[in-house]
C-alpha cells in the first residue's frame, strides 16, 4: 500500500472522513489552550466531572428533539454550567471537594443514561456515551467551529488573569481584580466539552482536551508554548486516530483518544530519558 493510499486517500474519497478531520482540528485548536490551563490548574478531575455534567442536559435535549445536535448541545451547555456553578458553591463552603465531585460525576452519568434509555435505543445510549465523530454534519461542524473560535478569543483576551489566577489566585484577589475570573474558566471548559460532545460523547470528551495538554506539559515549556504544542499534539492524534480507525475498522473516537494517550506516554518516556542524559536539568 502506497503512502498516499495509507494517509491521504481516506480523506480524499470520503466526505465523512474529511468532516471528521476538520471537526477534530477545530476542536484541537481550542482544546490545546483549555486543556493546558486545566492541567496547570490541577483541575483534570474537575474537567472529567464537567464532561459528565453535560450528560443529563444533553439527555433532556434528546428526549425533546431526538438526536439533533443543536438541542443536545443546548441541553448539555445548560446542565454543564449548572453543575459548574453548583460545584463552585460547594467548593467555597467546604474543603471536602473530591467526594462531592465524584458524587456529581456518578449521578450525572447515571441520570443521563436512564433518561436516554427511557425513550431511545441502545444505539442512542452508545452515541451519547462515546460520540459519533464520523457522523458530523455541516451544522454540527459550524457549531464546533463557532464554539472553538469563541473559546480561543476569550482565552486570548483574558490570558493574563486566567494565567495568574491559576498559580496565585490570592494575589489576583488582593490586587482587586473584580471581574469574576473564577467563573470564566469553568464556563470555557463546559463550552469546550459541549463542542466535543457530539464527536466524542460524554465519556471521552475530556480525552482530546486533557491528554494532548498533559503530553505537552511533560516538555516543561512556558504556558503559551505548551498551548501550541498541545494543539499540535491534538491535531496529530486526530489524524492518526482517524486513519487507524479507518484502516483497522475500529471505533474512531476511542482510536483518537488512544492516539493522544500514546503521545502522552511517549512524551513521558522521552522527557524522562532526556532528563537522565542531562542531569543538570530542572532542579528540585
Amino acid at each position: 500500500m502506497s503512502a498516499h493510499a495509507l494517509l491521504v486517500e481516506p480523506f480524499e474519497s470520503l466526505a465523512f472522513m474529511r468532516a471528521a478531520l476538520v471537526a477534530c482540528v477545530a476542536l484541537a485548536l481550542s482544546n490545546g489552550a483549555v486543556g493546558t490551563l486545566l492541567v496547570l490548574r490541577r483541575m483534570s478531575l474537575d474537567g472529567d466531572v464537567l464532561g459528565h455534567a453535560v450528560m443529563p442536559g444533553a439527555a433532556v435535549g434528546f428526549l425533546y428533539a431526538g438526536p439533533s445536535p443543536t438541542f443536545l448541545s443546548l441541553g448539555g451547555l445548560a446542565s454543564g454550567l449548572a453543575v459548574a456553578a453548583l460545584a463552585g458553591v460547594i467548593t467555597t463552603e467546604q474543603a471536602r471537594r473530591d467526594a462531592g465531585l465524584v458524587a456529581f460525576y456518578l449521578i450525572a452519568l447515571s441520570l443521563g443514561v436512564v433518561l436516554v434509555a427511557w425513550r431511545g435505543s441502545n444505539v442512542d445510549v452508545m452515541r451519547v456515551l462515546f460520540g459519533t465523530v464520523l457522523a458530523i454534519d455541516q451544522r454540527a461542524l459550524l457549531q464546533i467551529a463557532a464554539a472553538s473560535s469563541v473559546i480561543l478569543l476569550a482565552i486570548a483576551a483574558l490570558y493574563r488573569p486566567l494565567a495568574v489566577g491559576s498559580f496565585d489566585p490570592a494575589f489576583l484577589r488582593a490586587v482587586g481584580a473584580r471581574a469574576p475570573y473564577r467563573a470564566v474558566f469553568p464556563t470555557l471548559v463546559v463550552l469546550a466539552l459541549v463542542a466535543s460532545f457530539q464527536a466524542f460523547g460524554t465519556l471521552l470528551a475530556v480525552g482530546p482536551m486533557l491528554l494532548p495538554a498533559a503530553a505537552a506539559r511533560c516538555w516543561g515549556l512556558g504556558v503559551a508554548a505548551s498551548m501550541a504544542l498541545a494543539t499540535g499534539f491534538g491535531m496529530v492524534a486526530s489524524a492518526t486516530g482517524l486513519l487507524v480507525s479507518y484502516h483497522g475498522n475500529l471505533p474512531s473516537g476511542p482510536a483518537i483518544v488512544l492516539a493522544a494517550g500514546l503521545l502522552f506516554g511517549l512524551s513521558l518516556v522521552a522527557t524522562n530519558a532526556l532528563r537522565r542524559l542531562t542531569p543538570i536539568g530542572r532542579g528540585a
Binding site: E93, V164, D168, A170, G176, G220, R282, G283
Partner: protein, 218 residues
Amino acid sequence: MLRDVTVRYGRRTALEAVSGEFASGSLTAVVGANGAGKSTLLAAIAGVVQLADGAIDCPARQQLAYLPQLAAIDRDYPLTVSELITLGGWREFGAFRAPNTALRARAAASAEIVGLAGRLGRVIGELSVGELQRALFARLILQNAVVILVDEPFAAVDAQTMSVLLDQITRWHQEGRTVIAVLHDLELVRARFPSTLVLARRCVAWGATETALPAMAA
C-alpha cells in the same frame, strides 16, 4: 482600623470581636499560637476573606499589598522570576495591557534589592524556598503599597535571606509605610518591631511591644 472584626469558617470561629487601630506608618508584629487567627486577620484586612461581623475601615485599601504564606503559591507553574516580579505592577498595567519598559526596569531594580539580579530568567520551580520568598518580596516592593501585609515571611528561609527581607521591612517602615507581619520568633519581634498585637482568637494585647508582648508568655 478594626471594629469588632469576626470571621467564621463554617461553624468554627477564627476571629472574634477584634477591635483596634494600626497607626499609619506603624510597624506591627502579629503573634499568637497556631490557630489564633493571625493569618485570618491579615486575609480579612486584605479583603480576601469575608467578615461574619464587624467592619474594617482601611482608607488605603486600593494601595494595599498582601503576601500570604508560601504554601499558597504553585511552584510548578512555568513562570520566570522576572514575570513573577513584574506582576507587582498589576495595578499599573491591569489585566490587558503589556507592562512597559519603565516598569520592567523597576522590576529588575527590585530584584537587585533582594539579591536576585542574576536569576531573572529562571523558572520559579528552579528557585529554592528562600529565593522564591525573595522574589515575592521583590514583587511587594514593585507594588509600592502604602499598607503592606506579610504572613510568616521568614518561615523556612535561611538566615541570610531572612536578614535581607528583614532589612527590607525596616526600610518600608522608614519610608513611612504601614507594615503588619505575622511572626513566630518572639526574640525577633522584641528586637525589630515597635508594636505588637497578641491574638488568641480575640485580641489579648495590642500596643508597644515591651508592654504587649509579655501577654504572649502568660
